[in-house]
């Protein structure tokens, strides 16, 4: 009788112990991340001040990339909530306005202007300047961007190898051939064009710079 009572008692105690252990294990497993004091504090703070926390996160996500872009346009991040500013100005002294212009030329019955939209194919034509700045991938491009506070230097470069040059040349040759141009070379010319806005006509067109890209 006594033995039965003791066995029953221990069974109940043991079962209770196992159940408590089981609960303890899961509770700790679920809140493992929040088990240390610091994390508990963070969670409590987040629950208590959700709007403040949201504002801090939003501020960092919105203002951080914008400040980086203001410091150096080369450090513009993506994704970032930024619209294009295009804050350039033109000066119209004495009714004359000057504007830079880039044109591409190839050989087809003499030097002929290339239709850049057709040359780029499916690539949107507003990327043309960026592609020219990157030397059409035919030369090594290295860009360095510095931040002074804090002092960090970022570096970027285009994809450049013998194979990439060969493939890029082949692609450009094909695009030129489609328009009936010789596929051995093309030219990039930068002009400074001046207009008289009163008379609504071009006054001068000055060649500033010319680069030849050979594809042989």
């Amino acid at each position: 009788m006594i033995l039965q009572t003791l066995t029953h008692y221990f069974k109940e105690e043991f079962t209770d112990f196992i159940q408590r252990l089981y609960k303890y294990f899961w509770r700790n497993a679920i809140f493992a991340v929040a088990s240390c004091r610091k994390n508990k504090l963070y969670i409590r703070t987040m629950r208590k001040y959700p709007y403040t926390i949201l504002t801090i996160i939003l501020f960092a996500a919105l203002v951080g990339p914008f400040v980086l872009k203001l410091k150096n346009p080369g450090l513009e991040a993506y994704p970032a909530v930024i619209f294009p500013s295009g804050a350039g100005l033109v000066d119209a002294k004495e009714d004359l306005i000057s504007s830079g212009s880039i044109e591409l030329y190839g050989y087809k019955n003499g030097l002929t202007k290339i239709d850049t939209k057709k040359l780029l194919g499916e690539i949107p034509n507003w990327y043309l300047y960026a592609i020219i700045d990157g030397n059409f991938g035919l030369e090594k491009y290295v860009g360095e961007f510095k931040l002074y506070t804090p002092p960090i230097q970022f570096r970027t470069e285009n994809y450049f190898s013998e194979e990439s040059v060969r493939e890029t040349k082949e692609w450009l040759q094909n695009q030129l051939k489609k328009q009936g141009f010789q596929d051995s070379l093309f030219l990039v010319r930068r002009y400074m064009v001046t207009y008289n806005i009163e008379e609504k006509q071009m006054v001068s067109r000055e060649l500033i710079n010319e680069r030849i890209f050979k594809l042989d």
């Binding site: 208590k48 001040y49 709007y51 403040t52 949201l54 504002t55 919105l62 990339p65 914008f66 980086l68 203001l70 513009e76 993506y78 994704p79 909530v81 930024i82 619209f83 294009p84 500013s85 295009g86 804050a87 350039g88 100005l89 033109v90 000066d91 119209a92 002294k93 306005i97 504007s99 830079g100 212009s101 880039i102 194919g121 499916e122 690539i123 034509n125 507003w126 990327y127 300047y129 960026a130 990157g134 059409f136 991938g137 491009y141 860009g143 961007f145 970022f154 570096r155 970027t156 285009n158 994809y159 450049f160 190898s161 194979e163 990439s164 890029t168 692609w171 064009v193 806005i197 609504k200």
Partner: protein, 336 residues
Amino acid sequence: MRGFLSWIENYIRSFYQRIERNTSLSEKEISFYRIFVGLFFLFSWKGYSWLSDVPPGFFRPHVLTPARLFDNWPSSIYFFTVDAIYLIFLALAILGIRARFAFLGLFIFSILNNSFVYSFGKIDHGIFSSLIFLLLFFTNSGSKYAFFPDKKWKTQSIATAVFSLCLVFAFFTAGYEKALNWVDLNVSTSGILSWFYGGYFNLDRQDLLAPYFFDMPLWTTEIMDYSAVVFEVSGILFLMYSRRSWHLFLSIAVMFHLVNTLILNIPFLGHLPVYGIWLLSPFFLKYKFSGVIFLILLLLMNGLTMAATLWTITTLVILYSWNKGLYKKAPDNCRG
């Protein structure tokens, strides 16, 4: 310290609640609008597989983009797979089958793959075409007009408020730099002409009303410069003041884009569904099949003419909605 933090928390809460009141949408509006957004992106969708034909020499991502983690354009198989999955997500979102999950997928896919599109050395600013998916993820857009309705979350009004804050901040980023340069009280300089001449002579943006812009007197372009700056930096005031002022700000934004399309030939059509969340959704809900007109135009037309037509129709819809008082009432589920 705790008292101070609580005071700040209460102050910020009232700030958000005010924005929630001014920007909130009913579940019916946002759910019906979900179908339009899905179809809009489906019909105007160009996909990413064209990137597989771009030569490797053009790969020049910016320093701080996800594409920087790659050495070169991903393979054509990757882009074809992405296109297929993207289309599946769009179909799920339109039909309302796990729409919340589909919008999260669309957001992640569009952010990651747009970073490849922006790897020619220039970042475009169509971030809201991706963020709209994140907004729809947090709203209850999949809870009505859906084959398998989503469970309702309590995040709809705060998500809409945060999204609208992002929108006014984005306008501010454009206006801030302009304000420093364009507001110079000098009639012989012009900011808008810098956009115009650059586009007209370098990028062949010579369509629609662009040739007639030469006839504009210089002083009017100065007024346009200042108006653009005032509009872009003042978004937060419109957002905070009232529900009507927020709708007024968005209406001005639509007209701003219409003018940009007609004169500068810059369509920014990806912003149409973004403003439409507030400006078109009440109209679409009232006249259920009116959205079809937009979608038919997307299918039948292309290029600038289509963009100009869509912005014009949107302007007409807005004028009609103002006249009929469709923007007056805040939905009942609004907490603010």
